[in-house]
Amino acid sequence: MSSAIPTSTEKDALLRAGIDRSLRHPVMFFLTSGAAWLAVSIILGVISSAKVHSPGFLDSCSWLTYGRTQAAHLNALVYGWGFQAAFGVIIWLMSRLSRQECRAAGLILTAGHVWNFGISIGLIGILSGYSTGMPWMEFPVFAWPVMLFGYFAIVIWSFIQFKVRPDGPVYISQWYLMAAMIWFPWVFITANILLHIIPGNPVMAAGINAWYKSAIIFLFFTPVALGTAFYLTPKVTGRPIHSYSLAKLGFWSLAIVMPWAGMQKLTGAPIPYFLPYVGAAATVLFFIPAFTAAVNILRTAMASGDVVNNSPTLRFTMAGVIGLIVMGTAAVFLNLPGSTLRYSQFSLSGYGFEILSIYAFFSFVMFGAIYFIVPRITRREWLSRRLIKFHFFISIYGIVLIALVAIFGGIQQGVGQEEFNISWTDSALRAFPYAWAMTIAWCAILLSNFFFFMHLLVMWMRLGRRSSHPTLLISDHGHSPHGEEGDIDTGGPGTASAAAH
């Protein structure tokens, strides 16, 4: 071990430690500020969800009217939490997979502040009544160039690292992440330029907006989460992925099908007739990339069942993958033209599907990644297995409730809307029980993320455990199956524990 010439495993360990050290500040910044925005978003979600069934709640102030808090809630969730979690994971994974230390940590950190500045002024803009009124693009117009600039300054280094990487095969996670990094600016620039700079037919503008929402879900959040899951699962179990060709099939089906999705939300609107049908067909076909990837990841993980149960990372990642299966099923079930689409088009299902994709799938995989990455970059272990368990179970209860409401409640509400013989008041009242369920679900998710945020904050302050044993979700300390989880080289690079993985 202490020979003068380092062996290749020792070199690897040194390289990994160097990468983790170089990225500590930007990654921790993205993850903690993302978690803070998640908390803001959930609080706004509880407030606006409560207003749906109790409209008198906090109604005296213009800043807290439903139309503003609900818009702020979704935008904070998407751009504050979703994108920042994705940035943290992308820059770390791309460095690790390209085997390059990050040489621009300071610039990325600055760009991260620019992004956060854009989100902050955007949210203040929405709450103070300067929203644009375009769903998911409600930030006042001045915010998007700031965000775009921040985005490029954050991810450009990952492209460069990929370009100068050492020779070797490219892993499927890199394809997914690269694709997401290319698709997002394309979608974002297209939508913002068409809607803000080149005015066109207002109905078609609404169509572009529906396509934008769909593209953010399917062409950014989905590939980022899949790339992460394809990295974490083999890494933690120590097994290669079940089928590499299936993984490629999943990737290319996502790339070919999903850009067409989105405009089914405008079925019946005066836009060219093929657009809603193409959108519905593409959204239904989401089950192909979803199921191929989910089966592949689950088969990989199920080969070592104990690890899934014990490792926080894998437990969250697998829950996210199951969320992906539910999301793929819901995409089919909610978007069948001629049968369910007319019920889901203007009901709670739309919002529910968005939450399903952002929280049940994407966020769970991101939590898994955070439980993996943070100990490595802070060189401290998670403090408390109980806090992790609370975070996991309460989040699961919340999101299962939301999924049930999204799929069945939304359809029930839609059936009521379509019953033209009963009065509209009676139709609208059908949403009340589901609105209550949503509020309860958001309260559960708020509670679970309170634990998560506190835990992450403690880790950020480097108050985690100094140990070479990872925090696993088993109660006895007697033996630690850390061989499979992978040890963290808290003893320093080059030590035996570091060389083991």
Binding site: R68, W175, I182, L266, S347
Partner: protein, 273 residues
């Protein structure tokens, strides 16, 4: 696979969809030709361009800023996509006093003058495509339509039959102030407070102008009319014949519909309830 191949394949798979569903339809729909409505009595060609401007477009901004689109849609879907046309007064009135059946679907010209069509994302509240028609014809019976909307915005649950409404109150769009000298002409009569008065802010006035402008029931050119009246070359479907009881004497629609009354009267022609 090299990065170059990857990037080209990715651009191709995304680019085709991007052109087909986003760029080409958007630029094709950018400049819709005004449609001819035929000649009027004096021989001038009338075009269909329901443009809105001024305070109405300011009201559209208030509508957007306060997130009305999160609960209200502005889309009357054709029957293949939903039952909106069958809901009384959503798509217009089936038994309009002057024109008989004034119902129609939303068309691409309906949002002229707005930046963004507020199609909406959910129907926690009713569709607002024809709110203006509804307020004038059905809701504001003893007060002016503007007053009805001010009351509704101030407290959506002010009527017993609306006590279950989930609509938020927009009290912040109104000013409460003490009366000094003469009371304001614009003060709301319903909500007087002791020694004071409540007046709509400019935002509230713009919003109400906008809401009253939501009328998508005007006659449309034949090329946009998917349920043409009996004047069209093809015989009208029975359901669209106006009920004889409400048609006015000498009404064009009724006169034109007369020949088809020879056909056996279907159930839908039964008088309005």
């Amino acid at each position: 696979m090299s990065f170059r191949t990857f990037f080209l394949s990715l651009s191709a798979s995304f680019g085709v969809a991007w052109l087909a569903v986003v760029i080409v339809p958007y630029f094709k729909m950018r400049s819709l030709e005004p449609l001819s409505m035929g000649d009027d009595a004096s021989g001038t060609n009338v075009v269909f361009i329901p443009k809105r401007a001024g305070r109405i477009t300011e009201g559209a901004e208030v509508y957007a800023e306060n997130g009305c689109y999160l609960c209200h849609t502005q889309l009357v879907r054709p029957t293949y996509a939903g039952n909106d046309m069958f809901r009384p007064d959503w798509g217009g009135f089936k038994y309009d006093d002057e024109r008989g059946d004034s119902r129609r679907e939303t068309n691409a010209y309906d949002f002229f003058g707005e930046d963004f069509a507020q199609i909406g994302v959910a129907r926690m509240g009713p569709d607002l495509s024809n709110l203006g028609v509804r307020v004038v014809n059905a809701y504001a019976m003893d007060i002016s339509p503007e007053d009805w909307l001010y009351r509704h915005l101030y407290n959506p649950r002010w009527k017993p039959e609306r006590r279950d409404s989930a609509c938020p109150s927009f009290r912040f769009l109104f000013d409460e102030k003490d009366i000094k000298g003469n009371p304001s002409d614009e003060a709301l009569e319903f909500a007087g407070i002791h020694g004071g008065e409540i007046t709509p802010t400019p935002d509230a006035r713009a919003l109400v102008s906008y809401l009253l402008s939501l009328k998508k029931d005007q006659p449309v050119p034949d090329s946009l009319n998917f349920s043409p009246p009996a004047a069209a070359p093809t015989p009208a479907p029975a359901a669209l014949i106006p009920a004889p009881a409400v048609g006015k004497e000498g009404d064009a629609v009724k006169t034109d519909a007369a020949p088809s009354e020879a056909t056996p009267a279907p159930a839908e022609v039964a008088p309005a309830p």
